[in-house]
């Protein structure tokens, strides 16, 4: 009765092998290029580092001998406990403080939310050693309020934790604000109509709703703290953690093999945190329905008052830390000559790096922002929109997520092993600006890639099909439609790369040369040489540069929104 029956006499057709279009071939070419890029800039260096950890000084394979040595040297393996202790304590304080702050910003009716949020995001603009330097001026031996520590040293775990909390606060805050602001108002109305107490509502509605955001924030902060190098370097004193151990082994003792071993050890907690975060992210997708009604907080004088006071306090503390670094940078000679001067900004006479390093940083950050954005956005587009080629795309998707699990110190050391190898044809980029840019792009690849993917997934999936039916090559549609529509995300990626390139120390500390010294590295070395005030001055220069670019970005984004509001729906 169907055609199949009527035509059953026809011979069965053989399998169809789809012919690739020009577009398909170009896209696949690009995808393979992304694959090669990720392999060369992440996979092979990591492999080089891993194999280094199984070799002796002469490059002979010795199995786990280095690991045995590591775990039989208390001075080394105690750092694991220290690192975990610092990470757990810092995470606890950061999450607690950031949660209340985020709660105030999303669930109360306090005035000035935008101002509070802007203040809370300031730490992102500063290198992580800035709070450490600032705390030295507050609580160090000649600090202005060191008596509040009641005889305890700021150099050590106390200082590290305080610095880490300042440094990771905005990262936790952003995740928690997102989680708390996607609440379904209907659930709260239901809770009220069922006469649940505010406490009960909090534990049965609020907490389950932000569960995934909270877990994600915890692991992000944990990873940031355990992999951070700047703060323990400046304020850690004799208290060793894994990140500083890598530095000491490599720079101090030239023991590259042991540096590799510590790197592998540091990789573990980072990878665990990464895996948990990925699982959680995946689960979060199906949480909110399209019918959800946004939650609107109602004014409540006592609650709003407490929240306002709390946000003022936190805002004050953040500004105080920044202000102290700023103030100290203008003091002629703390604490003996407290007159203000620009002496500390005369970087050219300091050990560590002159003004040149600041301009190097600007150049490096600009290159990273431009080149990184092009590579990452184009790569994400190809991986998302190409047809077929499933296995390769899946692999490359994974490679793009991988850098998040690799701590900066580990990546930097891996680059030494890989790119400095005499047999590597890419050896010539060692010690140049290029390797700094490549390393920084790879270091911050994942977040940028995910931002690009989110924007691309919001595009109509049929744009490419329509273009193909109209015989328009995909790259025309990419340039004429995809890029303009995704411009806000593209700008976000570039500013993220720029600011991180300005502030990062960890990866590049192993890779700069005398010609390519960077501002953040210079600050670290000046602090190391005892020039703390000039270090503070250099940190402030980084803050000024990041803030300027950030403000420029905000103006550009606003201008773009106005220019394109005719076609953007909201």
């Amino acid at each position: 009765m169907s055609n199949a029956a009527a035509l059953a006499a026809q011979p069965a057709a053989s399998g169809i092998k789809p012919k690739l279009s020009q577009d398909d071939r170009i896209m696949r070419g690009f995808i393979l290029m992304v694959g090669v890029w990720m392999t060369v800039t992440v996979l092979l260096p990591l492999y080089a580092m891993l194999s280094k950890s199984f070799e002796n000084h002469d490059g002979v394979f010795t199995g786990i001998a280095n690991y045995i040595e590591y775990f039989s040297t208390p001075a080394l393996f105690y750092s694991i406990e220290n690192s975990l202790f610092i990470a757990i304590v810092s995470t606890f304080f950061t999450i607690t403080l950031a949660f209340i702050f985020a709660y105030g910003l999303t669930r109360s009716c306090i005035p000035g939310k935008a101002v509070f949020k802007s203040i809370a995001l300031i730490p992102i603009l500063a290198p992580s050693l800035l709070p450490a330097i600032s705390f030295v001026y507050f609580f160090g031996k000649q600090g202005i309020i060191n008596e509040v520590l009641m005889g305890n040293e700021i150099y050590g775990p106390i200082g590290i934790v305080m610095g880490e909390v300042f440094y990771t606060f905005p990262h936790a805050l952003m995740i928690l604000i997102t989680a708390l602001s996607t609440a379904d108002g209907r659930l709260y109305e239901a809770a009220i109509s069922l006469r649940a107490s505010p406490m009960k509502t909090f534990f049965t509605v609020t907490l389950p709703g932000i569960k995934y955001g909270l877990i994600s924030a915890i692991f992000v902060v944990f990873t940031l703290v355990i992999t951070d190098f700047g703060i323990p370097k400046v304020i850690g004193g004799q208290y060793n953690v894994l990140a500083t151990d890598i530095y000491k082994q490599v720079i101090g003792q030239q023991n590259f093999q042991m540096g590799a071993v510590v790197s592998v050890v540091l990789l573990f907690p980072a990878i665990i945190a990464f895996v948990v975060d990925r699982i959680v992210q995946r689960k979060q997708v199906a949480l909110l329905t399209a019918r959800a009604v946004p939650y609107e907080p109602k004014p409540l004088l006592s609650f709003d008052g407490i929240m306002f006071a709390y946000c003022c306090l936190i805002g004050f503390l953040i500004i105080a830390v920044l202000a102290m670094a700023c103030y100290a940078s203008f003091i002629t000679f703390w604490p003996y000559n407290m007159t203000l001067s620009l002496k500390n900004y005369n970087f050219d006479v300091m050990d560590g790096g002159g003004w040149e390093s600041f301009f190097n940083s600007i150049r490096m950050a600009s290159y990273t922002a431009v080149i990184g954005t092009i590579i990452i956005f184009t790569g994400a587009y190809m991986v998302e929109k190409a047809k077929g080629f499933g296995a390769v795309r899946g692999t490359i998707q994974f490679l793009c997520i991988l850098p998040m699990a690799v701590p900066g110190m580990v990546l930097g050391l891996a680059y030494i092993f890989f790119f400095n190898h005499p047999d590597n044809p890419l050896n010539f980029i060692y010690g140049t600006m290029a390797i700094l840019v490549i390393c920084t792009v790879s270091h911050f690849y994942t977040v940028s890639h995910l931002t690009a993917m989110t924007a691309l997934k919001q595009m109509d999936p049929e744009f490419e099909a329509v273009s193909a039916s109209l015989k328009v090559p995909f790259f025309k549609t990419f340039i004429r439609v995809t890029v303009p529509v995704c411009m806000p995300a593209i700008l976000d990626i570039s500013i993220y790369l720029f600011v991180n390139a300005m502030t990062t120390v960890s990866a590049v500390i192993f890779l700069y040369s005398t010609e390519t010294n960077l501002a953040s590295v210079a600050a670290l070395n000046m602090d190391d040489a005892g020039d703390v005030a000039p270090a503070a001055a250099m940190c402030m220069m980084i803050v000024y540069a990041s803030a300027t670019v950030r403000i420029g970005h905000a103006l550009l984004t606003r201008g773009l929104a106005q220019r394109t509001q005719r076609w953007r729906k909201r």
């Binding site: 169907s2 055609n3 199949a4 057709a13 169809i16 279009s21 329509v466 015989k471 090559p473 005719r566």
Partner: protein
Amino acid sequence: MSEGSSNDPHPYLRIRDVTKKFGDFTALRNVSLDVNEGEFVCFLGPSGCGKTTLLRAIAGLDIQTVGSIEQAGVDISALPPSERDFGIVFQSYALFPNLTIKRNVGYGLENRKTPKAEIEARVAELLELVGMPEQGDKYPAQLSGGQQQRVALARALATSPGLLLLDEPLSALDAKVRVHLRHEIKHLQHKLGVTTIMVTHDQEEALTMADRIVVMNEGGIDQVGTPLEIYRRPASPFVADFVGTMNFIPATVSGPDRVSIGGNEINVGEGLNGVGVGSPVTVCIRPEDVTTRDIVGSSANSIETTVDNLEFLGSFYRAQLLTTGNGKAKLLADFSINLIRDIGVEEGKTLSISLPESRLRVFEGSAKTEADI
């Protein structure tokens, strides 16, 4: 029945034994179909029946696993979309949000080195054609859904493709706009004479717009026919159930061309195809085909029923009837308001009805109805 392969020896589109697998799942199995030049064909079926998969195979967006597709005598089975000749309109319209309506419509022309003045003239002509001559400088977000749909149509037609593919083009629209656009699209298609395939799950849309309907179910074609054939002579219980409202009455074969519905014997014409006496069959009739006036004699296929329930549906009543005799079969019948008044149909009363032989379809076995699913 072999409407699928029409008598035209040179159909515009020739689909043979197309099977599409996604991993272990078979989305299309052995589909063969001919579409003639200038025809308006609708793929109709519930979600997951494979209608969109077939459309995407024709477009080359998801190429079939096996089977061949020929368009205008050329084998296009393995070609990528960019090397095929079609225009497409998606449910989402997929209009480029950052380009004006004019640029959207002219998008495919700009790439063909067509002179600028010519593009402008063609765009103006197309906007005129879809009834939106003055909206060219707006952006898609500034238009209503119906207007966006017209722009998408104009864009798909701009390069004068040989085949127009419409993937549920109306389902995102309000009911009223939908009805209006149905006529417009049909009219436009008729005027341009472009071979058109539309995917829809809306039977009303298919019945009103299509020259021929392809009813699909579980990856295969159940029936191909004109809207009237599909409605009047459904080829399977599925088609009968999916298109329009249908009564499925369990019955038993009681003799040559005769079946028994709970003891009431009726004539079923030639529908039995040699099913043996005593075998279970399902008798199908549409509610509006059940009559109750002028029932004379035994040849009228009359049955005694009681009125179980009367439902007022505005322009008519739908009566739920129970047949008398052994085993009560349920049966829906649509009666005009006049008839209800004239005959005095009331709940609980008995009513003689007739099931006209020419309106009956009989299927072997006991068919599942919507109510069972």
